[in-house]
C-alpha cells in the first residue's frame, strides 16, 4: 500500500465485511465487501458505481463504521484523516465515534426522504439534532442557525414549519441532505440520493450537493447506479462488481477508456441521444454474493475469460496515473503469475 497522500481524507485497507446468516442451522456467508482498498481525497466527489447487490451500500456502512449484525467486519481497517492525523476508526470507543459523526463525517442513507419523523414539524427535528451536537444554545439560536443554513442552500426556510408529509419527495430529500451538511462535515456519504426521484428533481438534488461542496470544500462520497449522475458530478469513480472494486479512475477516463470488460459493457450499454445503434448488455446476470464463482467473479460473463481467471482473483494494479484495474487482461496484471 502506498503511504498516506497529503490530501487523503479517508482510507480503507483490504476491507472485508460479510453478512453471516444462520438459515435453518446452516451458515450462509454473503461476501458483500470482499477486500476493498480505497483512498478518498479532500475536496473531491468520489462516485461508487455498480449494480444492485454488488456491495456498494455495505461498503459505505463499513466506511462509516456503522456495522451491525448480521453484518460483520472480517478484516481490514478504515482511517479518517483529521487535522493531519490518522484515526483508526474501528479502534475508537462508541462515544468517540458518536462525536465524529455529523461533525466530521455524515451519512445520508438510501431512501432518506423517509427518515424524518412524520409527527414532528421539521423545525423540531432540526433543533433536536442541533441540541444533541451543539452545546449551550437556546432553541431560538438553533432555529436561527437552521433557517440561515437552509437559506444559504437555496431552500425556502418556511419548510421548517411544515410536517414531512406536506413536502414533495424531492423537497424532503433536499431537506435531509441539508440536515446532513448542517455541521459542516469534512466528509458526506450519500447512498443513492437521487434514486426514485424525477429527472428534474434529481437535477435539483445534484445541484444542492454541488453547492454544498463548493461552500464547505469537503469530500462527498456518492453511491448511485446511475452512470449519468456520475458523469455529471463525480471527479473520480470506483466501479464495484460482486464485492470488489474492479476499476477506479477519473470520470473522464472511465467513460472514455474503460479497461475492465465489465466496465466496458456498462459504459457501452448506456443509451445515448442521437445514436440508435444496437446496445448489448453483458451476457448472463450478476452472481449471488453468497455463492461467488472461483477466481475473478466476472469470469462466467466475460468474453475474454482465460484459465487464470477461473483460478485466481487478479490484484488491483496501477495503470497510468489515477487509474487502477483488477483484471488479468491488463498489462502488469500478471504479476506473480509467472513465479
Amino acid at each position: 500500500m502506498n503511504g498516506v497522500m497529503p490530501s487523503t481524507v479517508l482510507r480503507a485497507e483490504q476491507l472485508k465485511a460479510f453478512y453471516i446468516l444462520d438459515a435453518f442451522g446452516t451458515e450462509k456467508i454473503v461476501k458483500a465487501v470482499n477486500g476493498v482498498s480505497v483512498q478518498i481525497r479532500e475536496n473531491e466527489v468520489y462516485g461508487i458505481a455498480g449494480e444492485s447487490g454488488c456491495g456498494k451500500t455495505t461498503l459505505l456502512k463499513a466506511l462509516y463504521s456503522a456495522i451491525e449484525p448480521p453484518l460483520r467486519l472480517m478484516g481490514g481497517r478504515v482511517f479518517y484523516v483529521r487535522d493531519g492525523e490518522e484515526i483508526d476508526v474501528y479502534s475508537l470507543s462508541k462515544e468517540e465515534k458518536r462525536r465524529l459523526r455529523w461533525e466530521y463525517i455524515s451519512y445520508v442513507p438510501q431512501g432518506s426522504m423517509s427518515v424524518l419523523n412524520p409527527v414532528k414539524k421539521l423545525k423540531d427535528s432540526y433543533s433536536d439534532f442541533l441540541e444533541s451536537h451543539v452545546a449551550g444554545k437556546t432553541r431560538r439560536d438553533t432555529l436561527a442557525i437552521a433557517r440561515r443554513h437552509l437559506h444559504e442552500l437555496g431552500l425556502p426556510p418556511k419548510v421548517l414549519d411544515a410536517y414531512p408529509h406536506q413536502l414533495s419527495g424531492g423537497m424532503r430529500q433536499r431537506v435531509t441532505i441539508a440536515l446532513a451538511a448542517l455541521l459542516g462535515p469534512r466528509i458526506m456519504i450519500a447512498d443513492e440520493p437521487t434514486t426514485a426521484l424525477d429527472v428534474v428533481v434529481q437535477r435539483g438534488v445534484i445541484q444542492l450537493f454541488k453547492s454544498i461542496q463548493e461552500s464547505l470544500k469537503n469530500t462527498i462520497v456518492l453511491v448511485t447506479h446511475d452512470m449519468g449522475v456520475h458523469a455529471n458530478v463525480a471527479d473520480r469513480i470506483g466501479i464495484m462488481y460482486a464485492g470488489v472494486m474492479i476499476e477506479e479512475s477519473t470520470v473522464e477516463r472511465v467513460f472514455e477508456e474503460p479497461l475492465h470488460p465489465y466496465t466496458q459493457y456498462l459504459i457501452n450499454s448506456l443509451p445515448k441521444f442521437g445514436d440508435k445503434s444496437v446496445r448489448e448488455s453483458a451476457p448472463g446476470s450478476p452472481p449471488s454474493l453468497a455463492n461467488l464463482p472461483s477466481g475473478c467473479p466476472f469470469h462466467p460473463r466475460c468474453p475474454h475469460a482465460m484459465d487464470v481467471c477461473l483460478q485466481e482473483m487478479p490484484e488491483v494494479v496501477d495503470v497510468g496515473e489515477n487509474h487502477r484495474v483488477a483484471c488479468w487482461l491488463v498489462e502488469g496484471g500478471g504479476d506473480g503469475r509467472a513465479a
Binding site: S168, M227, A231, N232, L266, P271, K272, S281, A282, S285
Partner: protein
C-alpha cells in the same frame, strides 16, 4: 393504415380529501393518441404526470370519466365480461416490479399455465407445454429452466422476461409495458429493451412503453408523447421530439437528464415546485408557474394543440397569430 388503438379525449378525475374540503384532480386531461400496428409508442414524463393512469384506463382497471378507447375499432366502454376477455387477449400488460408481479409462494410456471387455461388457448397438456416453451424461447428462456421454481430463484431480469413471455401467450397485438426496466439491473437492462425491438420487428407486436427514462425511450421508440400533469404537451416522432424539443417543458426535461458523458455537465440551475397539487389545479397551462417563457395568456387559458414540423405541441409559443400580435405590441415598448 388503420390505427390499432385509438384514444380520444380521455379524461380521468380523482377526488381527494374529506367530504367537506374535496379536491378534484384531473389526472388525465383530454388525452388523444393513436397506436399503429408494429410500433413502439412511448408515454414519457415525470411521476404524477398521468402516464400510469392512462395505461390503467386502457387496460380497463379504471373507468374513464369521459372519452373513448377503441381497440381495432371496438370500443372498450363498459365491457361485459366476455368482451373484456376478448380485449385483454389482444392487449396485455407488463408491470414495473417483477418481484411484485409474481406471488413468492407460487411456482412461476403456474402463471403461464393459468393464462393458457383462462383464455382457453388449448385444452391439451402437451400442446400447452409446447406453446409455453415457444414463448419462453422467444424471450431467451426454456420451460425446463423455469418449471418447478419459485420467483425467489430467478433474477429480476429473468422474471421480467417470464412476465413478457406470459403476456405473449395470448398472441396479443399490443403490449402495455409500465416502466418495464426500471427495476432491472443496468447490465442486463438493454437485453430487455432489445427484446421489445425484436418483438416489434419479428412478431409485429405494438408496445406502449411507459417510462420516465428518455434515453431508453429514444433508443427503443418510434413515436413519443410527453405528458405533464395530465396533459400531453408534445407528441411526434421520437427523433423530432427528443432531438429538437419544442415545448419548454420537454426542453427542461431533456436538459435535465444526466447524460453519460462527462463533457456534457449541466451549467444552469433549475427551479422546482414544492407542491404538486398546485400544478394540477392551475387554470391555464400547468407549466406556467415554472416556464421561463411564460406569457399572460398562459396563466388564463389551456393552450390548444399546434402542429409544428409534424409534431403536436400544446404551447402558445407556437400560436403564430398570437406571437405576431405580442411582438407588435412589444416593439414600441422597447423603443421608448
Amino acid at each position: 393504415m388503420d390505427a390499432l388503438l385509438e384514444i380520444r379525449n380521455l379524461r380521468k378525475d380523482f377526488a381527494f380529501g374529506s367530504l367537506l374540503s374535496r379536491l378534484r384532480i384531473t389526472a388525465v386531461d383530454d388525452v388523444s393518441f393513436d397506436v399503429m400496428p408494429a410500433e413502439i409508442f412511448a408515454l414519457a414524463g415525470e411521476s404524477g404526470c398521468g402516464k400510469t393512469t392512462t395505461a390503467r384506463l386502457i387496460l380497463g382497471f379504471e373507468e374513464p370519466t369521459s372519452g373513448s378507447i377503441r381497440h381495432k375499432g371496438d370500443e372498450n366502454g363498459r365491457p361485459k365480461k366476455r368482451e373484456k376477455v376478448w380485449f385483454t387477449q389482444g392487449v396485455q400488460a407488463i408491470f414495473q416490479n417483477p418481484f411484485e408481479t409474481f406471488n413468492p409462494l407460487r411456482r412461476v410456471e403456474r402463471y403461464l399455465f393459468e393464462t393458457v387455461r383462462n383464455y382457453g388457448l388449448t385444452k391439451n397438456g402437451t400442446k400447452a407445454d409446447k406453446l409455453i416453451d415457444e414463448m419462453l424461447k422467444a424471450v431467451g428462456l426454456r420451460l425446463e429452466e423455469v418449471s418447478g421454481r419459485y420467483p425467489s430463484e430467478f433474477s429480476g431480469g429473468q422474471l421480467q422476461r417470464i412476465s413478457i413471455a406470459r403476456s405473449l401467450l395470448t398472441n396479443p397485438s399490443l403490449l402495455i409495458a409500465d416502466e418495464p426496466v426500471s427495476m432491472v439491473d443496468a447490465s442486463i437492462r438493454m437485453s430487455i429493451v432489445n427484446l421489445f425491438r425484436q418483438l416489434r420487428d419479428e412478431l409485429g407486436v405494438s408496445v406502449i412503453y411507459i417510462t420516465h427514462d428518455l434515453a431508453t425511450a429514444y433508443y427503443v421508440c418510434d413515436r413519443i408523447a410527453i405528458m405533464f400533469r395530465g396533459h400531453v404537451v408534445e407528441m411526434g416522432g421520437v427523433e423530432n421530439v427528443l432531438m429538437a424539443p419544442k415545448h419548454p417543458y420537454t426542453k427542461l426535461l431533456r436538459e435535465s437528464i444526466p447524460e453519460a458523458d462527462p463533457k456534457k455537465r449541466w451549467k444552469e440551475s433549475v427551479s422546482l415546485t414544492d407542491i404538486e397539487h398546485e400544478e394540477y389545479l392551475r387554470k391555464g397551462c400547468r407549466f406556467a408557474g415554472r416556464c421561463p417563457k411564460v406569457m399572460d395568456v398562459c396563466r388564463e387559458n389551456v393552450p390548444p394543440e399546434f402542429t409544428v414540423d409534424g409534431v403536436l405541441v400544446k404551447c402558445f409559443l407556437y400560436d403564430e397569430e398570437l406571437m405576431t400580435q405580442t411582438k407588435r405590441s412589444e416593439v414600441p415598448d422597447d423603443a421608448e
